[in-house]
Symmetry: C2
DNA sequence: TAGATTGTTAATCGATTAACAATC
DNA sequence: TAGATTGTTAATCGATTAACAATC
């Protein structure tokens, strides 16, 4: 038995928590290199500019248990996060779309440390098929369903233009893929037992630039008021 | 005067709303191509699998006004969203990190339709400096602050590895950049008047794979129970 | 007119934050 | 012991969803 409680895997964990855990993990790795043995929520909170209570709640879902006054044993907490996120056992994935974004992702070797191994790329373009990108073969798209089925691939990554993305998603679903990381700027239609995570850059960009515009406008307004008040 | 109300730009708009507006916009563009004249929240909701009331609230912030029973005039609503998101006037941006991800972003010509024009790339590697990527010059990193200042650049995009990202952010801030789109997997330290949007793929991946793991586990458990109950 | 849809107010839900007892 | 920190419960906050009157 492990020294930690049973992870709270049965109840669904809030998405924001899932997105913060890797941040904690990254920070802990840094501390480990410095030879630290313990870590408190206060410390993590200060580093990341978050609320200590929030961090404590996030950690709770991983099953890690700390000691009052001391904090968490660094190695234990790191292991608990890795275990909870499934970073110990590797998921194999197929990537479709061997363009520049796809090539970039194929080169992200650190995905392996996060439990993701992209084992092959696919493309509809015969000119790309047969190439090797970062040591991964580019295969013809039509072979995807069969291969995914045979290899038990559960994760698909879509880096094709919007126009071709739905077709790719359909092929993935046909091949038994259960989670799709979608970089194409559109919403895919998939059966409800398939998880989709959209990395829609246009949506992110919109949020960023609108906030910037608002901040700049607010400043202009404030300046105006200051000048007005100074008279 | 326009036929719409004054956009609700003074109060800060919820982030989820900002991220959904581009989805509506994309759908409206599609409808326009089909020659439609009006659109209702119900229709948008069905297409995107969202709640109609939510869409109505989102639209409200853009200042667009609809008519009961009819819905919104398609062109009016489209214009309202574009106006609210600032897609009419273009922001110029600098990108730092002419690697594969950076190159991919430099090729996203549709950013221009969303008010973003990447006007130059920068890199610390002398081997990359002087190249042209998608018609954009790659300049030496150290020239960034001065150039940003002179050109009034307010948006910076970071596509360098984590190790170099903070230094890049510092240079951007020095050059007067006020919004940073950060693709490096770390949290940047910036003055509080600078907006940062993190595109941290490891965080997204963690959320996706944990959800997949949980779904698969849940299924296994359910299967077990079914078998158990069948006895 | 009848009914679909908007606009708006109220209720619900979920996540963050605060409060505080337990404890090493 | 005193004080920092955990674990947990309660309060707050913000976004989503429901309810419903107004209206074309």
């Amino acid at each position: 038995m492990e020294p930690t409680n049973q992870p709270n895997a049965s109840r669904t964990v809030p998405e924001p928590t899932l997105r913060r855990l890797p941040l904690y993990h990254r920070f802990l790795k840094g501390l480990a290199e410095q030879g630290r043995e313990f870590v408190s929520c206060t410390m993590i909170a200060e580093e990341l500019g978050l609320d200590p209570t929030q961090i404590r709640k996030d950690i709770e879902v991983t099953g890690a248990v700390g000691r009052p006054k001391v904090g968490y044993v660094l190695t234990e907490l790191t292991a608990a996060i890795e275990g909870f996120l499934g970073w110990n056992n590797i998921n194999e994935a197929f990537l479709v779309g061997a363009g520049s974004l796809g090539s970039a992702l194929l080169g992200y070797s650190k995905f392996e440390q996060c439990g993701l191994s992209i084992v092959a790329a696919f493309d509809a373009d015969p000119a790309k098929v047969g190439q090797r990108i970062h040591d991964k073969m580019v295969l013809p798209l039509e072979k995807l369903p069969n291969l995914a089925q045979r290899m038990g691939i559960k994760i698909g990554i879509i880096t094709v233009p919007a126009a071709g993305a739905q077709k790719v998603a359909d092929l993935m679903v046909e091949g038994g893929v259960r989670a799709i990381w979608n970089f194409a700027p559109l919403r895919l239609r998939v059966p409800e037992n398939v998880i989709v995570r959209n990395e829609d850059l246009y949506c992110s960009l919109a949020a960023l630039s609108q906030k910037l515009a608002q901040a700049l406008e607010q400043e202009k307004k404030n300046e105006g008021e200051v000048i007005h008040a100074a008279r």
